[in-house]
C-alpha cells in the first residue's frame, strides 16, 4: 500500500458513544480509514418474548438523544403487525413529540458537538485542552460563539420541554405508544408548546442561521470537503393528516431518482464481529456474534440498498426533497441540518393549529394477536427501520437498522467502504486530525444506536486488527 503511518484515535469525543478511528496516512493524507464501534449491548435478544405493546418504551432506551424516533418507529411497526389505527389527534401529537426531539437533537448537535470544531472556547472545561490546528475566527467571534454555545443549552432544553408537554418526560418519553399518544389535548398544552416553539424559532433566526452562514464563509472548502458517495435516500416521515409527508420518501443514486423499497435492504456482516451468514433481509436477519472473526473490526453491520452503501440524514432528505443545499460536504451537511430545523419548527406550528382539543388521541384496539410489521420513519440522523414479528402479543423477532449503521457501516463482501469512510479519503490532516473530526461529526453519528444484536455463542479472546 505504501502507507507510511497508521494512527488510532480513541475516544473520538463529542459523539454519542465514541467511535474508534483508524487512519492510514501517506504524507499527511488519509489513504484509508476504518471507523469502528466498540460497544455492544444486545438489545434484540432482550426484546424477544416481551409484550409487543411495550416496544416503544423498550426501543427508545436504545438511544438517549433520539429516543422518540425509536418509540415512533416501533409504534408504527407494532401497529402494522397488530392491525391498529391511529386517530387524527394521535398522528399530529406524535409528529409534535418527534418534532420537539428533532429540534433538541439538531440544536445540540450543531452547538455542543459540531461547532467546537470550528471555534476556540474559553479556558474552562469542556474547552480545555483546546483543539490544535486551524481555527479561523477572531477572538470577538470566538466569544460570540461561546455565548451561543451556552444559549443553545438553554434552547435545546426548551425543545425537550416541548417534547415533554405531550410526551410526559424527555428523554425516554411515555407519550408515544402503539395506537397513538396517551396525552390528552387541551388549549393549555397547545399554548405551552407554542411558547417553546417561538423561543426556538427566534433562536434559529437570530443566531443559528447567521452562525452557520459565518462558519460556511470562513471555512469555504469544507462546504464540499468530505463528500459521501452520491447515493442518498429517505424513507419519508412526518405524515400530516392530509397524507402528505414533510419529508418525502425516495432515493437518489448517482443523480438518478427512484422510489425506496424496503425489500431491497440487506445487511452484510463480512467485516463485522458476527458469524458469517451472507447478506440478509432485516425481516429475516439472523445474527450471531463472533469476536474472533478474523476480518471483523467493528460491531456495526453493513446495511446495503441493492448492494450499495447509502447516505442518510438531513442532507439526504434535502437532496431527495430537492430543497436548497449549499454543498455535499461537512458544512453542507451542517447547513442542511440547520435549514431542516427551521422547516420542522414551522411545520410543528402548523400541526399545533390542526389539533382538536378534547378529542381522543389514542386507539388501543387491536385486530389480531400475531403478525409482522415494518416501521419506517426518518429519525434525526436519517432513515430508521424496525422489523417486528409478533406472536400472541409477544415479540418473536425484532430487528433494527439505524441511520448511523447506514452511514458508518462496516465493509461488505466486495470491500466497499461505508459512506463515512469513503468521505475521509484523500483528506489532508494535521496532527490531531481536526479535519477528519469535522467530517465525521457532520454526519451526527450516534453509536449508542448502531449496534444492538446478539445471540449466544462461544466467545474467544479479542484479537484486535491493530
Amino acid at each position: 500500500m505504501g502507507c507510511t503511518e497508521k494512527r488510532i484515535l480513541f475516544p473520538f469525543s463529542r459523539i454519542h458513544n465514541p467511535i474508534l478511528v483508524e487512519a492510514h496516512l501517506e504524507n499527511g493524507q488519509i489513504k484509508d480509514a476504518f471507523l469502528a464501534d466498540t460497544l455492544y449491548r444486545g438489545f434484540e435478544e432482550i426484546l424477544i418474548g416481551r409484550p409487543a405493546m411495550d416496544m416503544p418504551y423498550y426501543t427508545e432506551r436504545i438511544c438517549g438523544i433520539c429516543s422518540s424516533a425509536h418509540a415512533f418507529t416501533a409504534a408504527l411497526a407494532v401497529e402494522q403487525a397488530l392491525g391498529m389505527s391511529v386517530p387524527h389527534n394521535g398522528i399530529l401529537l406524535r409528529n409534535l413529540i418527534l418534532a420537539g426531539d428533532f429540534l433538541q437533537n439538531h440544536l445540540r448537535h450543531l452547538y455542543l458537538l459540531a461547532m467546537p470544531d470550528y471555534f476556540k472556547g474559553p479556558d474552562v472545561a469542556p474547552f480545555v485542552p483546546h483543539l490544535e490546528g486551524d481555527l479561523r475566527f477572531s477572538p470577538a467571534e470566538d466569544a460570540k460563539f461561546t455565548e451561543h454555545y451556552f444559549k443553545a443549552f438553554e434552547v435545546a432544553r426548551q425543545a425537550h420541554a416541548a417534547f415533554g408537554v405531550f410526551g410526559g418526560k424527555a428523554p425516554h418519553g411515555h407519550g408515544i405508544v402503539a395506537g397513538g399518544v396517551t396525552s390528552e389535548v387541551d388549549a393549555d398544552k397547545i399554548s405551552r408548546y407554542l411558547g417553546y416553539l417561538m423561543v426556538i424559532v427566534h433562536f434559529l433566526d437570530d443566531m443559528v442561521i447567521p452562525d452557520i452562514n459565518l462558519v460556511a464563509e470562513r471555512y469555504p472548502e469544507y462546504v464540499n470537503l468530505g463528500q459521501g458517495n452520491g447515493n442518498y435516500f429517505s424513507v419519508g416521515g412526518f405524515t400530516g393528516i392530509d397524507g402528505e409527508n414533510l419529508f418525502p420518501e425516495g432515493l437518489v443514486i448517482q443523480g438518478s431518482k427512484g422510489h425506496f423499497d424496503e425489500k431491497q435492504v440487506t445487511e452484510d456482516v463480512t467485516t463485522a464481529w458476527y458469524k458469517q451468514t451472507g447478506p440478509l433481509y432485516p425481516g429475516k436477519g439472523q445474527t450471531i456474534p463472533d469476536r474472533g472473526q478474523s476480518k471483523g473490526y467493528t460491531w456495526v453491520k453493513a446495511p446495503r440498498y441493492q448492494g450499495l452503501p447509502m447516505e442518510v440524514g438531513p442532507l439526504a432528505r434535502a437532496v431527495v426533497s430537492r430543497d436548497k443545499i449549499i454543498g455535499h460536504g461537512a458544512i453542507g451537511r451542517l447547513w442542511a441540518r440547520t435549514m431542516e430545523t427551521k422547516k420542522i419548527a414551522l411545520a410543528a406550528s402548523d400541526w399545533l393549529q390542526r389539533l382538536i382539543p378534547g378529542e381522543r388521541a389514542l386507539q388501543t384496539k387491536v385486530e389480531q394477536d400475531s403478525g409482522i410489521g415494518v416501521g419506517l420513519h426518518e429519525a434525526m440522523r436519517g432513515a430508521l427501520g424496525h422489523w417486528i414479528a409478533v406472536e400472541n402479543g409477544r415479540v418473536k423477532h425484532y430487528q433494527i437498522v439505524t441511520p448511523s449503521a447506514w452511514n458508518f457501516s462496516s465493509r461488505d463482501k466486495a470491500g466497499t467502504r461505508s459512506v463515512a469512510e469513503n468521505s475521509l479519503l484523500d483528506l489532508k490532516v494535521s496532527k490531531d486530525m481536526t479535519e477528519a473530526g469535522r467530517v465525521i461529526r457532520s454526519y451526527d453519528p450516534c453509536f449508542s444506536c448502531t449496534v444492538h444484536l446478539l445471540e449466544k455463542e462461544n466467545q474467544r479472546t479479542l484479537d484486535l486488527w491493530v
Binding site: 480513541f10 449491548r41 444486545g42 420541554a161
Partner: protein, 385 residues
C-alpha cells in the same frame, strides 16, 4: 454558606417550586468564590449506555448550570462535551487519576458489561491497547473519593442487563465491591437528582442513602404516596386503559413500589411527568427494572385480581414479576383492609367510553336525602324560592 439542613430543605422546596438549582446556586457560587468549598473534580465515564443521562443532565432547569459546572464543580473528563479527542483528552483523565487521587469524583453512566472479560465495550485506547469499560471504571474508581453511578444501567444494570442479559451486564457496585457506590437511578436520571447529589458531595460529603444506595433526599418516598391521582385510588376509581385520567393502577402503574419524587419534582421544566400524560409509571428507578416491572402498560400477569385483568403467563422473569405483583396486590389488599378503598372498588372502575365524574358516593347521597325534609323548602338552596 448553607448548612446541610438548609440544603435538604431547599431540595424539597426546590422540588415544589421547581427551581432547586436557582435556590441553591447563588449561595454556592458565593461560597466557592470565598474559597469555602473546593471545586469538586469530576470524571464522567460512559460504558454500555444510551447517553440518555448526559442528555438529561443537559436538560437541567436553571440559568446557572454553566456557573455550577465551572464554579462549583470541575468538569474534567466527559467525552460527550470535550473539545479535544483521543490522547490529549485521555491524558486529562490519566493526570487527574494520578495527581488528584482521593479528591476527584467518578461518575459512571452505563451498564458494566462483563461478558468476555469486558471486551464487549471498549472506551479508550492507550499505549497500543484498547481499554475496556470494566477495567477503566475499576482503575479510576479505586482511587476516587466518591463513586457515583448515574442512571438505572449503571446502578442496577437496567434494560441492558434485562433477561437474558446477553452481555452479562451489571451495576457499578457489583464490580467495585470495595467501594461504596452512590446510586442515582432512573431511566434516565432526573437532572436535579444528579446535580443535587454532586452538590451534596461537594459541600457535605456523602448524603444519607437507602438500602439500595440511593440518596434518601430524592428517593425517600414512593411515587404512589405523592401521586396527584391518589384520590382516585383511594376511592377505587381506576382507568381501564392507558390514556385515561384516573388512577392507572390497573393498567400497570408501578407507583406503589417505586421510590422517587417525580410527582412533586416533575420533568422538563416541571411541565409534565409520565403519569401526568396518562401513562403508567414503569418503575425505572428500581433495581430489577425492567424485568420486575413488566408488562408496562397492562396489569400483572397471573396475579388473580378480583374481576380484574388477567394476562397470560410468560417465561420472562416469572419469579421476579410475581414478587412485584404480589407487593402491589398486597398494597391494595392492605388498603382494602384499612378501609381506605371504598367497597365499590369493582363497580367504580371506569368503563371504556363512559367515565363517571368523581363525586359523592351513593351512600352519601342517600344519607343526605334522608336528612332533607321534603315538607319544608331548604333555605340555602337557590332553586327553592
Amino acid at each position: 454558606m448553607l448548612n446541610r439542613r438548609d440544603f435538604l430543605r431547599l431540595v424539597v422546596k426546590g422540588a415544589v417550586l421547581g427551581n432547586f438549582l436557582n435556590l441553591v446556586g447563588p449561595p454556592l457560587e458565593k461560597a466557592a468564590a470565598a474559597g469555602e468549598v473546593n471545586r469538586l473534580p469530576v470524571i464522567w465515564l460512559e460504558t454500555g449506555s444510551c447517553t440518555g443521562d448526559s442528555i438529561s443532565l443537559d436538560n437541567i432547569w436553571t440559568p446557572a448550570l454553566m456557573d455550577i459546572l465551572y464554579k462549583i464543580l470541575d468538569w474534567r473528563y466527559d467525552w460527550v462535551v470535550m473539545q479535544s479527542s483521543a490522547e490529549s483528552a485521555f491524558q486529562v483523565l490519566l493526570d487527574t487519576v494520578e495527581n488528584m487521587a482521593n479528591q476527584y469524583t467518578l461518575v459512571v453512566q452505563g451498564t458494566m458489561l462483563q461478558r468476555d472479560g469486558g471486551n464487549y465495550n471498549h472506551i479508550a485506547y492507550h499505549d497500543g491497547k484498547l481499554i475496556t469499560g470494566l477495567e477503566l471504571v475499576r482503575r479510576v474508581g479505586l482511587k476516587a473519593r466518591y463513586v457515583v453511578a448515574i442512571g438505572t444501567c449503571a446502578t442496577y444494570g437496567g434494560v441492558v442487563a434485562a433477561y437474558p442479559n446477553p452481555t452479562q451486564g451489571t451495576g457499578v457496585q457489583n464490580i467495585l465491591p470495595e467501594r461504596r457506590v452512590i446510586n442515582v437511578s432512573g431511566c434516565p436520571t432526573h437532572p436535579d437528582w444528579i446535580m443535587g447529589t454532586l452538590l451534596h458531595l461537594a459541600l457535605y460529603g456523602e448524603p444519607e442513602l437507602d438500602s439500595f444506595g440511593r440518596p434518601k433526599m430524592f428517593y425517600g418516598e414512593t411515587i404512589h404516596n405523592n401521586c396527584p391521582r391518589r384520590r382516585y385510588y383511594d376511592q377505587g376509581i381506576f382507568a381501564t386503559d392507558i390514556g385515561q385520567k384516573e388512577c392507572l393502577y390497573r393498567v400497570g402503574c408501578k407507583g406503589p413500589v417505586t421510590y422517587a419524587d417525580c410527582p412533586i419534582r416533575r420533568w422538563n421544566d416541571r411541565m409534565n411527568w409520565p403519569i401526568g400524560c396518562n401513562s403508567p409509571c414503569i418503575g425505572c428507578t428500581e433495581p430489577g427494572f425492567p424485568d420486575k416491572m413488566e408488562p408496562f402498560t397492562a396489569h400483572f400477569p397471573d396475579i388473580p385480581f378480583p374481576g380484574g385483568t388477567r394476562m397470560a403467563t410468560d417465561k420472562i422473569g416469572l419469579g421476579v414479576l410475581g414478587l412485584t405483583g404480589t407487593a402491589i396486590t398486597a398494597h391494595l389488599a392492605a388498603s382494602l383492609y384499612k378501609g381506605r378503598l371504598h367497597h365499590n372498588l369493582l363497580k367504580s372502575t371506569v368503563k371504556q367510553n363512559s367515565r363517571p365524574p368523581v363525586k359523592k358516593t351513593k351512600s352519601a347521597k342517600t344519607y343526605r336525602l334522608k336528612k332533607a325534609n321534603p315538607a319544608t323548602p331548604q333555605p340555602n338552596s337557590p332553586g327553592s324560592s
